[in-house]
Amino acid sequence: MYNFEFEKPTTVAEAVAALSSDEAQALGGGQTLLPTMKQRLAMPEKLVSLTGIADMKGVSASGGTLTIGGGTPHKTVADEATAYPALAALASNIGDPAVRNRGTIGGSLANNDPSACYPSAALASGATIVTNAREIAADDFFQGMFTTALDEGEIITAVKFPIPEKANYQKFEQPASRFALVGVYVAKYAEGVRVAVTGASEEGVFRWTEAEAALSSNFAVSALEGLSVPADGMIGDLHGTSEYRAHLVGVLTKRAVTAAA
């Protein structure tokens, strides 16, 4: 990888200042960014590590909301998000143990990889992405593959998840990468059910609103009978055709409902 200047601030304000220069890039756990830089697909002149900011780490629950610091590693979420078990389970199955010890929720959401697990949880939970500047609803945050509402130099400091009555994430794993070939997150709230799909669409994570409507009136697998997502716009690659992925969306949604019910 090309060389760069490295900074490790200890406060959000210092990090924001460090990121204000051109060609500066925030570094979370580095589990995606460092491999990308090795391939020279990214070549920032300055990396600003967020791992030294104590205020951005930790998991807490209060008043029906689980709040996770943006710099919290997956392993910590897996161990400490006991107030939201489906989310803890998702975190415990991202990548592998070494990746989970470094990779962070903020990094994952900011990257918005179309096959990452966390975006589905944030979208299905109607989470709020808290940055140094504002709060962004998950519905507005994800804007297509590797694209988010974040401005240049904006940092995810925390993510707030409303805790659902029931939830489950089903990941059909691509065994070599351990990313989701398709992943479906179903979350049931008093106001209704939300279903978010990762790994499948060329537009990145999306809500399957037809399934949401059906499950909101009847939270049972039978409510999903006859529903399917079109293969058009689904990712097709050597790991699976777009038809295969579209089929998996239906299968995994049913599994998630069964597991959550």
Binding site: M1, Y2, N3, F4, E5, F6, K8, L27, G30, Q31, L34, P35, M37, K38, L47, S49, T51, K75, G95, D96, P97, A98, V99, N101, R102, A176, R178
Partner: protein, 165 residues
């Protein structure tokens, strides 16, 4: 260049690193601790796993600068000073948990991290934990068996052993 100082296998280590210097290169090239291997360099294979502040990480996917101030433990610190292998290493030897040995440092470091967290893992838990460690020789069977043995459990109960009986 900037200076980093960390504790490596109980000793203070200081060196100058570039921003891009990976922890594994600092360990191997600066400190001559070549037991930690670079297999894939793409954070897939796990041959480079070391412990940073007690946690297993892929040292090819962590900057040396990020380990400034940390406590790092590598494969070199696993055996006793007189060469006596630790329980995981001994189990790998007893149960032929390696062939070429290239992945072994990472396997041992991951296994040690697993047993610290979960002293009596099931076979399924071991296989799940080793998802980030790739071995191209043994097909994993003897590695899983070694870790079962290192945790003091009966190795005859694991699936492939039962199938062979």
């Amino acid at each position: 260049m900037s200076q980093v100082t960390m504790t490596v296998n109980g000793k203070t280590a200081t060196g100058d690193v570039e921003g891009r210097t990976l922890l594994v290169h600092f360990l191997r090239d600066e400190l001559q601790l070549t037991g930690t291997h670079v297999g894939c360099d793409t954070s897939q294979c796990g041959a480079c796993v070391v412990h940073v502040d007690g946690k297993a990480v892929k040292s090819c996917t962590m900057l040396a600068a990020e380990a400034d101030g940390a406590s790092v433990e590598t494969i070199e610190a696993q055996a006793a000073d007189d060469g006596t292998l630790n329980v995981v290493q001994q189990a790998f030897q007893d149960h032929h948990g390696l062939q070429c040995g290239f992945c072994t440092p990472g396997m041992v470091m991951s296994a040690t991290a697993l047993l610290k967290e979960n002293p009596k893992p099931t076979e399924a838990e071991i296989r799940h934990y080793l998802e980030g460690n790739i071995c191209r020789c043994t097909g994993y069977h003897n590695i899983v068996k070694s870790i079962m043995a290192a945790s003091g459990q009966d190795v005859d109960s694991i699936a492939a052993e039962v199938a062979a009986q």
